[in-house]
């Protein structure tokens, strides 16, 4: 059981998304043991299993965990009320969840988690425009919230509003300039609405931070295939092509002949 607890701790701290694995661990190991030997960690584990159960649509497991949490923390706890409302969201009872969130907000207007849950409610009911407006008002108050900017970027991409999504991606780069994935996201958004020079520049900066990023390597070749003035790019294209072929050679040598041919066509077209 100890290894299961350690794994759960690792997933919690590093933000992994392996809900089915957590549910498997719960079913095989943890539900059979009494968890009070963990002390305070027991409640964190229960909350984590609850959320994973809702994701995997195992309502019975979720209900068990919720009962245990309610027994301990009574109904005055904000966190447990939020979990309760999440359970209602997952079974589709959006009005009840909305009521719970409104009452919790009346108690404390500045609670960031409740604002975010309300935005999720709108997203679940497919009201993307309203969700975007709410998220914009939230971001005027909490301007450095990385997750919120990421979420706004996704929502704008759902609406195919690439200019505004690019703005959100820029904000994310400002908050975390050394994360190669932020640069790659921005480059991909720029590529999607025809700003090929920008996209190419940011794909290069992605490679600067992480030379193993395949998408960025392909992105450079694709942008130069789409740009009008291509003469200046030929040398760098050759180097990038060599790097891509090298990586395929290391991991998947079977695909090498196909990749070579495709890249040749891409560069010379």
């Amino acid at each position: 059981m100890q290894s299961a607890i350690e794994k759960l701790r690792k997933y919690r701290e590093e933000n992994y998304r392996s809900h089915d694995e957590v549910i498997e661990l719960w079913k095989t190991v943890l539900s059979k043991h009494n968890l009070s030997s963990l002390g305070d960690e027991k409640w964190l584990v229960l909350e984590q299993v609850f959320k994973c159960a809702l994701h995997c649509s195992q309502q019975s497991i979720a209900f068990e965990c919720l009962e245990q949490l309610k027994k301990e923390f009574k109904s005055t706890s904000h966190r447990v009320s939020v979990l309760n409302a999440m359970y209602d969201e997952s079974i589709g009872d959006y009005e009840k969840a909305e009521q719970v969130y409104s009452t919790l907000l009346k108690d404390n207007e500045t609670d960031a988690t409740i604002h975010k849950r309300k935005i999720c409610l709108l997203k679940e009911q497919n009201k993307i425009r309203d969700a975007i407006n709410e998220l914009n008002t939230y971001l005027e108050l909490y301007q450095v919230d990385q997750e919120a900017w990421g979420e706004l970027c996704e929502l704008y991409l759902l609406e195919h509003d690439y200019a505004k999504a690019a703005f959100c991606a820029e904000e994310l780069i400002l908050i975390n300039p050394h994360n190669h994935l932020n640069h790659e996201r921005y480059a991909s958004i720029c590529y999607s609405y025809d700003k090929y020079e920008f996209a190419r520049a940011y794909y290069f900066s992605t490679i600067k931070f992480n030379p193993n990023n395949m998408r960025a390597l392909y992105g450079i070749l694709l942008t130069s295939a789409n740009m009008k003035s291509r003469s200046a790019n030929e040398n760098s294209n050759k180097i990038i092509k060599e790097q891509i072929l090298q990586k395929y050679k290391e991991s998947m040598p079977d695909l090498l002949p196909f990749v070579e041919k495709t890249l040749q066509n891409l560069i010379s077209s």
């Binding site: 994701h55 969201e89 050394h178 190669h180």
Partner: protein
Amino acid sequence: MGQKLLLIIGLLALAHAGYSAAQHRVFVRLTEQQFERLPTDIIVQTLIAFLACCIGSVQLFGKFKPILITAEWQNKTWDTIGNRPSFMTFNHRGRKLFH
């Protein structure tokens, strides 16, 4: 365990060196010599004890992180970095996939 031992030995050695230095001063005063400098072995013991304390305490209080600021994100996938747990919604295909 080894680090704790190293730290304890380092601290004891440091305390012992300090005590020896004080004793040496008293000895010099009693025999009415000029106080030139501390004997070399006390100095060497102090330095070694200091080194042991440094290494022991640094190793004891947590793992080192890599110095390159980009090394933190080299091996993480979009799945973990792009996961936004405050914004989790439940009306995705998990409903049908996991039944």
